[in-house]
Amino acid sequence: MSESTTQQKPKRALFSSNTRQKLLAFASLIGLMVFFSLASPSFMQTDNIVGILQATAVNGVLAIACTFVIITSGIDLSVGTLMTFCSVMAGVFLTYWGLPFYVGVLAAIFFGALSGFISGTLIAKLKIPPFIATLGMMLVLKGLALVISGTKPIYFNDTPEFTSISQESLIGYLLPDLPIPNAVLILFVMAVGASLILNKTVLGNYTFALGSNEEAVRLSGVNVDRWKIVIYTFAGAICGIAGLLIASRLNSAQPSLGQGYELDAIAAVVIGGTSLSGGTGTILGTIIGAFIISVLTNGLRIMSVAQEWQTVVTGAIIILAVFADNMRKSK
């Protein structure tokens, strides 16, 4: 409601995206990076920057999935455990059943989409509030990941190509000075793709429309339920890719990991300027939000701040980053 205050200046955006917000979050990110570079010489080294990029990949991809859902004014608490579930399914297909590499990849994405489809159906057809539907799914998937894996990590020893998804570097192969791991490449490709989908396709159009005024969309004769299911399914498939990234990075499917990741992902989305009440948001903002979190975490570690103080400072800076944006916005 308070969204629509009269204080707002009219926005003449290309296509309902909010360019300024993106740039402002970007300024916070740059500010943090400058600070850490000055504070510690180790920060700005290639190795460390690559480490930060690598550390952002999984959360970035999950945050992309969350962006879609949050723009519809929904929420997805299951992204973390869904990621884990998908990596376990990849392990089942590849290690337990010895199927070829690409089948494992497809399996992870398929089960991600399937789970998203179920969440979407619960929300759209059975009218379960997104918070509850995805909380339930979070628990169900967490349990299933444990059951299916037998509460043990599944290692991808039989599929050596699997580690290449995340760890090797296509860019580094072409440009040896820039050993950016594939996980990061995948993150950027997905960000560009997701941004196109969000801004140029019907799916994106309905994502914004549902978040802005679902009832109006329904009254316009759109099959709201179907599109909601499509959006959650799409977000689920993206979580499947996150599952591949993390499994490849760890060379194993870790069944107990995943819970808690949803908060980081949602935080990235919100820091990136997407409103939890729906209707606005950008992928670029989300990616910047994810980087703000990783840079902060890494920088504090590099500065060897005591761990309990790291937590305090992270909390304070998340608030400050958003506050700084508010300030500049209201100018």
């Binding site: 969204e3 329904r218 009254l219």
Partner: protein, 504 residues
């Protein structure tokens, strides 16, 4: 000729409310059929059933002589039935173009992407047809209610295949020029054989465009009459079930009473430019102007709802600083906003909570505990006085008819008992009977010594009610007219006196 729509024996009950009771209706192609009735008579409900928003309890609907079941808006659209809802149903975060083409986005050849340039072009065409100067790329949330209403209309008209077009109070937020434009388009549609259902509380519009009138009362069908052969008085008495007395204009010319509110050199960006005015005790000051003239902005600025760049405000001669609506209310200034849904009502709450929202302090024991009895008594009194149609004081406001919602906002400010009251479009969506009640009320308030500023886009209302009229154009006050010398022509002349024109 077969009627394009026939509705018979339609019943619809909401818990506690019999909204439709054996209602009937008939529409021919190429006909403008007005649907009239008091607030809460069931007009919107009847049309929503036809548009697939609500499901009927019993009764039958025939389209082109064929019985149909309309289960959702999509099926209505498939039957060629389009509707402009009484309440705005827009996606405020989306552009004008996206709103108009929701559900029918043009795609690129690959079918994957939306053909955005084409969507803008098509939107521009629709807007041009309406002679609307709007950028298809503007976000709808940034538009004024009037422009949003035009977007709704454009959206409904952009359906080329519509054979039935329902307009539920389309002109409530429009000015005369826009209304003329709309009527021109209705004329066009009519000549193409489209059947139009037209709901309005503005009686003068009936004579201008409708062919027949169907009157409803308390959910029941009363009669259908040809407009040309029926007098307004007959229609009104059919609506309200009695004859209304005209209350006439302002009673006492409150010439030289004390000034209670003085606004000097008020500026806010481009929308308010050096505005000066005074309001006196016991007078009704009318604010006239075209859409976007800045009247609402002035009221909001004085009320502290928006920040101003500069300006002095004096209340009863004392200079005050109003930075927040709470300051204004403490000083005895009330503001009834033009957009009830967005700024006036907590629609999720019940009637009584809304009525006392601005005056909680009066209803507390030791500043904390609610005086339930007193709240209910006060609410009951205003529900009675304003004839608010609600099944109980605990009804959620969102479930009331549009006009009754408007009355609740009025009640809220009456309960607060402010000395200076800004009424922004107070009779928007209110039926004739209630309108004269509100006029009576405004007069009574003025007589009690309140100072009233009435912003209205309905010139007859301004002319009839105001002691003095200020006219605005492009953020400036372009003139003042006394009740005696006011005419429509004089006001329109001031309302269109643009700054650029003046310098020539």
């Amino acid at each position: 000729m077969t009627p394009i729509v026939t509705i018979r024996h339609l019943n619809k009950t909401f818990p506690g409310v019999r909204a439709l009771n054996d209602a009937q209706f008939e529409l021919f192609p190429g006909e403008v059929h007005a649907l009239m009735g008091e607030n809460g008579a069931g007009k919107s409900t009847l049309m929503k059933v036809l548009a697939g928003v609500y499901q009927k309890d019993s009764g039958e609907i025939l389209v082109n002589g064929q019985a149909v079941e309309i289960n959702d808006p999509r099926e209505a659209q498939a039957l060629g039935i389009g509707i402009i809802h009484q309440e705005l149903n827009l996606m405020s975060h989306l552009s004008v173009a996206q709103n108009i083409f929701i559900g029918r986005e043009p795609r690129t050849r690959s079918g994957l992407f939306i053909d955005v340039p084409r969507m803008w072009r098509d939107t521009q065409e629709v807007l041009d047809r309406l002679h609307l100067t709007l950028d298809p790329r503007t976000l709808v949330g940034d538009l004024t209610v009037a422009k949003q209403q035009m977007v709704e209309i454009a959206k409904a008209l952009s359906h080329a295949e519509s054979r039935v077009l329902i307009m539920d109070e389309p002109t409530a937020a429009l000015n005369n020029a826009e209304i003329d434009e709309l009527f021109r388009i209705i004329g066009q549609l009519k000549s193409h054989g489209v059947g139009i259902v037209y709901i309005s509380h503005k009686m003068d519009e009936l004579k201008r465009i409708s062919d027949r009138v169907t009157v409803m009362r308390d959910g029941q069908y009363i009669a259908t009459v040809p407009t040309a052969e029926t007098s307004m008085e007959t229609i009104i008495s059919m609506m309200v079930g009695r004859t209304l007395l005209d209350t006439g204009g302002p009673q006492v010319p409150a010439e030289q009473s004390e000034v209670v509110l003085e606004v000097r050199n008020l500026n806010r960006g481009k929308v308010i430019k050096d505005v000066n005015f005074v309001v006196r005790k016991g007078e009704i000051l009318g604010f006239a102007g075209l859409m976007g003239a800045g009247r609402t902005e002035v009221a909001r600025a004085v009320f502290g709802a928006d920040k101003v760049d500069s300006g002095d405000i004096r209340v009863r001669g004392e200079k005050v600083s109003i930075r927040h609506p709470a300051d204004a209310v403490r000083l005895g200034i009330g503001y009834l906003s033009e957009d009830r849904k967005r700024y006036g009502l907590a629609t999720g709450m019940d009637v009584s909570s809304n009525v006392v929202l601005a005056s909680m302090k009066r209803f507390l024991w030791s500043q904390f505990v609610l005086k339930r009895q007193a709240i209910r008594a006060t609410c009951a009194q205003f529900v009675k006085q304003l004839e608010i149609k609600t099944p109980s004081l605990d009804q959620k406001v969102a479930l009331l008819s549009g006009g009754n919602q408007q009355k609740i906002v009025i009640a809220k400010w009456l309960v607060r008992d402010c000395e200076i009251l800004f009424f922004d479009e107070p009779t928007r969506g209110i039926d004739v009977g209630a309108k004269s009640e509100i006029y009576k009320l405004l007069n009574a308030l003025a007589q009690q010594g309140r100072a009233i500023v009435m912003i209205s886009s309905e010139l007859p209302e301004i002319l009839r009610m105001s002691h003095r009229i200020l006219v605005m154009c492009e953020g400036r006050i372009t003139g003042e007219v006394s009740a005696a010398e006011a005419t429509q022509e004089r006001i329109m002349q001031l309302a269109t006196r643009r700054e650029t024109a003046k310098s020539n």
